[in-house]
Structure formats: C-alpha cells, structure tokens
C-alpha cells in the first residue's frame, strides 16, 4: 500500500490570521502607517515643534498672518505661515493634533467602557432593566449628536473635561447598543447556559465571557466613533464652544482663519483642516478594514 504524503497544515494562530487578513487591504495599511505617524507627531510635539504656541511671551504680533515660508526675526522659518496672533502654524497644528487626539481617544475609551458595561449588563439581566435601558438608548440615539453636544456645552461652558463629558454623552449609546446585541447573541449560546447551570456567579460570566466576546464589534464601532468624536470636537470648537482659546484645537485654528479667508490668507484655515482630514481619514481606513476582517458574515 503506497503512502500518500500530505503536507502538515500550517498552524495559524488567531492573531496571525487577523494580521494577514488585515494586511490584505493596501489602503488599510497606508491608513495604519499614517495613523502611527500622526500619533507619533502628536506625542513628540514638545520636542519637534519649533515653537511653543502656548507660550504667549514667545509670540510676536508683528509676525501675524505671514504666508508660508516666511522667516521670523530670530531666523526660524514659518513653514506653514502664522496665524492672527503670530503663532507658527506648524507648531500650532502639532499641538492642536495632540489635543484633538487626546479628546477623541479619551472620550471614546470612556464611552466604550461605560456603554459596554451597560449594554452587556442589560443583555445579561434582561427583563425590566434591559427594557428601560434600551429605551433610554433608543431615545438618546434618536437625538442628533450635534444638538446634544451644543446644549451640553452651552450649559457646561468651556474646558477639555467638559467637552469630553459632552462627547461621552453623545457616544455611549452606540456602544451600549452594540454591546447588548453582541452579548445577547453570546448569552444564548450553550456554554453560557452551562456556566449558569454550574452556578457560576453573574459577574464572572459577564466579565470573563460576555464582555470579551462582545469586543470585536465594539472595536469596530470604536474606530468610527473616535473619528466622529474628533470631527465633532473640531466642529464645536469652530463654533466657539468647547475648548477655550488657551488650548487651541484644530477647530479653533480653522475658525480663526475664517475671517481672513476672503482676503486670500488661506493657510490659517486650510492647513489645520488638512491635518484634521488626514487624522480622520487614517482612522477610517483602519476602521473599515477592521470591520471587514471582524465581520463574521462576509465569506472569507
């Protein structure tokens, strides 16, 4: 009897497979690279910015609204021009990126935690609790985000923490709904029934089983939401709410440039917008591929 040689199957861990599937999209890889660069720039801001835009003493009003490429009195080149206060745009944009990323990610993480816990609990406990919670979620989701944020900020005033609160309020419901759907599917699986039959405590089941399995869709929602949060924060700052002028976010920079747009001094509004665009684009490119990879329905 002749033996047939069959090659041994390649052992592919879930992580490896995820990496491979993610890398199938060139766009996603570009997005990821872009994201890494942006985050690096933001983190290294204090060291790479030629000027500290918060240091009022360093600003020279005479240098206000200079076009890109102009030189300062001390020989520094304003690569992207200056704004109305004589701030170097390049530095202002880098610092602005920092704030935008911080606010977007912080609010996203908090909203995710809050929403996930609420959603999973609702799925696990069921009954009245679930009904009431989901009702609140539905109503909250029915409200346009921008209006909720507007009113909240009008009431709360300006400040980084206040805008994070506003963003969390606007986002948590998405996470809660996603978490509940995922947890519901999981909850009805047999191994959960088995765990309950064994008398395992509710918290244990929630924490060790329901939550981890709800994570993939939450991550997908998370990337989209962080991008939205960053855009929303910029919009709110542009409108004059949210961040105080002492912490120039990209939105505020764009707003500052609005008045002089007509006279052709485009750089004050355009460049911060480009930075904003690239950030959001990078997150979306990554998030898109994440969604495709983590989606069980698309045949792979």
């Amino acid at each position: 009897m002749s033996t047939v040689v069959v090659p041994a199957p390649l052992v592919e861990t879930p992580w490896r497979r995820f990496r491979r599937q993610f890398a199938e999209s060139r766009l996603a890889l570009i997005g990821l690279a872009l994201l890494v660069v942006i985050v690096a720039i933001a983190l290294l801001a204090p060291w790479i910015a030629p000027q500290n835009p918060y240091d009022l003493a360093k600003l020279d009003l005479l240098d206000a609204r200079l076009p890109p490429g102009a030189t300062a009195a001390d020989g520094m080149t304003y690569w992207l021009g200056t704004d109305g206060q004589g701030r170097d745009m390049f530095s202002a944009i880098i610092y602005g990126l920092r704030v935008s990323l911080y606010v977007g990610i912080a609010s996203g993480v908090i909203a995710l935690t809050l929403g996930a816990v609420i959603g999973v609990l609702a799925a696990y406990l069921g009954g009245r609790f679930e009904q009431i919670v989901m009702r609140i979620v539905d109503i909250q989701l029915g409200f346009p985000a921008i209006l909720v944020a507007l009113i909240l900020l009008a009431v709360l005033g300006k400040g980084v923490d206040k805008i994070i609160i506003a963003l969390v309020t606007v986002q948590w419901a998405y996470y809660a709904r996603t978490a509940r759907s995922a947890a519901l599917v999981e909850r009805h699986k047999e191994y959960i029934e088995a765990a309950r039959a064994l008398g395992l405590g509710a918290w244990r089941i929630v924490l060790r089983h329901l939550l981890p399995n709800s994570l993939p869709p939450l991550i997908v929602v998370g990337t989209v939401q962080v991008a939205h949060a960053i855009a929303l924060e910029a919009t709110l700052s542009f409108l004059g709410l949210g961040l105080p002028p002492t912490e120039p976010s990209l939105g505020l920079l764009i707003a500052n440039g609005y008045e002089v747009l007509m006279s052709g001094k485009y750089w004050i509004s355009v460049y911060p917008g480009v930075a904003l665009l690239l950030t959001i684009l990078a997150i979306n490119l990554v998030g898109d591929q994440l969604r495709d990879v983590l989606n069980p329905r698309l045949s792979r």
Binding site: M1, S2, V4, V6
Partner: protein, 324 residues
C-alpha cells in the same frame, strides 16, 4: 430541433472554483446523457459536485467559478462558451430549474403574480392579461386551490410545500424540454415531500419533460428515476438503469449508500455506515477518491479508474462488486 439523439449530452465537464487555497475542482470529469422525457437521478453527498453540475448546465456559474473544460450539448446546441443572450433565452423556456429552499428562491418583496408574469413575458411576446391567465392555469396544475387569490399574495404567506409548488409551476410555464430540480424536497416536511414527488412524477409523465433530479437521498429517486447516476468527489462513479443500480450496485460507494439507509437495517442491529469522511476536494491525491474509505482498496486503486461502460451500465472502479 432534431428528434434524434439525446436531449442533453454532457461530456467531460469540468467546473473549477478559484479559492484562496488553490483551485477547487467541484466537478472534475462528468459525462452523461439524458434522453427526451427521461428522468435521471443524480445522487451524491454534499460536496460531490451534483449541484454545481446542475448550475453548469444552466450557465449560472459565477466568478470565481468557471467551466474549465468539457461540452454541454443541448438538443444540438453547444452551451459551453455560448453567448450570454442565447443562454438567457434558453433558461426558463427550454431548460428550467427548481431550487432547494423555496423561501430563499422566491423574491420576498414581489408578489407571486409579478414573479410568474415576468417569467412568461421574458420569453413570449404576449399581453399581461394573457400571461396572468397562464399563471393561474399553471398554479391550478400544481394543485394550488384559489389560484386567483394566491396570485396577489407574497411568498411568506405560503407554507413551504406551497412555495415549492409555485416554483414548480414557474418551471412549467413554458413547457420546457428539461427541468433540473436541485434537492427540491430536502427542505420540506416528510409528508409534503411525498406529495411533491408524486406531483412531479405526474407532471413529468403528462408533459414528456425530461428531468434531472439532484438529491443526496437514494430513497427519494427510487420510485421516480428511470436512470441513476452516482457522484463522488466531482466524478460519476456509477450509472445505469434505476432498478439495476438499486438492486445490484457495482461500486462500493453505492453499496455503502444503500446499506446505510436506516430502513435497510434490522431493528436492534448496528447501523451501518461508510467509514471515514468526504475528502477535501483541494487535497485529493491521485488515484481513486474513495480509496481511504473502501474495504476493497489495494495498490491498484492508486491510479484513477476510468468510467467503464457495458450495456448501458457504467462503473468507475477497478474492483467493482460482482453481479449476483
């Protein structure tokens, strides 16, 4: 239209699917003929390639699949490589297909009337009203009462058996020469299965339509088919008159299939099964695909057996079971 020769002649059909892990030959080498008015039972497990054969005949293989080789001669017309428009004209008019799950095959948001009338109008230049009348008549023929009310309804308002009758009615609208039925009773209750089988038999005898009945269940084709072809791993392993194949199978796989029917076993005795499992079509080695699961296999099975035909009986095996 020639009256001589078989209605359908499949020769050396090979349909492949390009997958991430390689080329999958769902249908590796299939040849058979169907005469006018004949009922052919195409039997095999999932993955044997029987459904893909059916779709290939209709030209419904979409990328990443393609017909890689072979010929499909329908009444003298070559289907492989034919222009899409000429294939479209054949579909529904001269060759019709019935699918497995009628819930999924009828469009849930269109009324039965719409779905039947459009089939008529796609091939015949006639009025809406005339088409509607034909639809009503077709529904009546498959045993659907109050056809006029039923026309205005939607698929979800029918039971599974009724939906399948509608699908059969649609298939019969143009009195096709050939109907390909892909497991039409698998998704139905056992009692309904019997009804549908009976209906099909009656209709086919009445209209002289040829029928290819694709199934995994030998029992189903036992009373219906004139001839039976058994498929395994993309190839035909046995073919012949129904009675012959069922009473005296020659291929070990066919024997195994017949034996594993629970009714064939004495109460209390162990159920017989074919050991092992269906091989992955991607990792088929050379030689007979059934080798690993066959008690009669030996060194001679390392080369792929050829389908040998004698007196209308075909077998692809180097150690076929002897005739009693």
């Amino acid at each position: 239209m020639s009256r001589v020769g078989p209605l359908l002649k499949v020769s050396g059909l090979r349909t492949e699917f390009a997958t991430r892990d390689g080329v999958l030959p769902a249908v590796a080498d299939v040849s058979f003929e169907v005469a006018r008015g004949e009922v052919l039972g195409l039997v095999g497990e999932s993955g044997s390639g029987k459904s893909v054969t059916g779709f290939s005949i209709l030209g419904l293989i979409d990328p990443p699949g393609r017909i890689a080789a072979g010929s499909l001669q329908f009444d003298g017309l070559e289907l492989v490589g034919a222009a899409p428009e000429s294939l479209r004209r054949l579909r529904g008019k001269r060759i019709a297909m019935i699918f497995q799950d009628p819930m999924m095959t009828l469009n849930p948001v269109l009324s039965i009337e719409t779905q039947m009338v459009e089939t008529v109008l796609a091939h015949d230049d006639t009025t809406r009203e005339a088409a509607r009348q034909r639809a009503i008549e077709a529904l009546g023929r498959v045993g659907i009462a109050s056809a006029v009310e039923r026309l205005a309804q939607y698929p979800h308002q029918f039971s599974g058996g009724m939906r399948q009758r509608v699908a059969i009615a649609i298939a019969l609208l143009h009195k096709p020469d050939l109907i390909i039925a892909d497991e039409p009773t698998t998704a139905l209750d056992v009692t309904v299965q019997g009804q549908i089988l009976y209906e099909m038999q009656k209709l086919v005898r009445e209209s002289g339509t040829a029928l290819i009945w694709i199934t995994h269940d030998l029992a189903v084709v036992a009373g219906l088919a004139d001839r039976i072809a058994v498929m395994y791993a993309g190839r035909i392993v046995e073919m012949g008159d129904a009675a012959d194949v069922l009473d005296a199978p020659r291929h070990p796989y066919t024997r195994g299939l017949l034996d594993s029917v629970p009714a064939a076993t004495q109460p209390g005795a162990r159920l017989r099964q074919i050991r092992g499992s269906t091989p992955s079509l991607l990792r088929l080695g050379p030689g007979c695909a059934f080798r690993e699961r066959c008690d009669r296999a030996d060194a001679g099975c390392a080369t792929l057996p050829v389908l040998e035909t004698t007196d209308g009986r075909s077998v692809r095996c180097v150690h076929p079971l002897e005739l009693a």
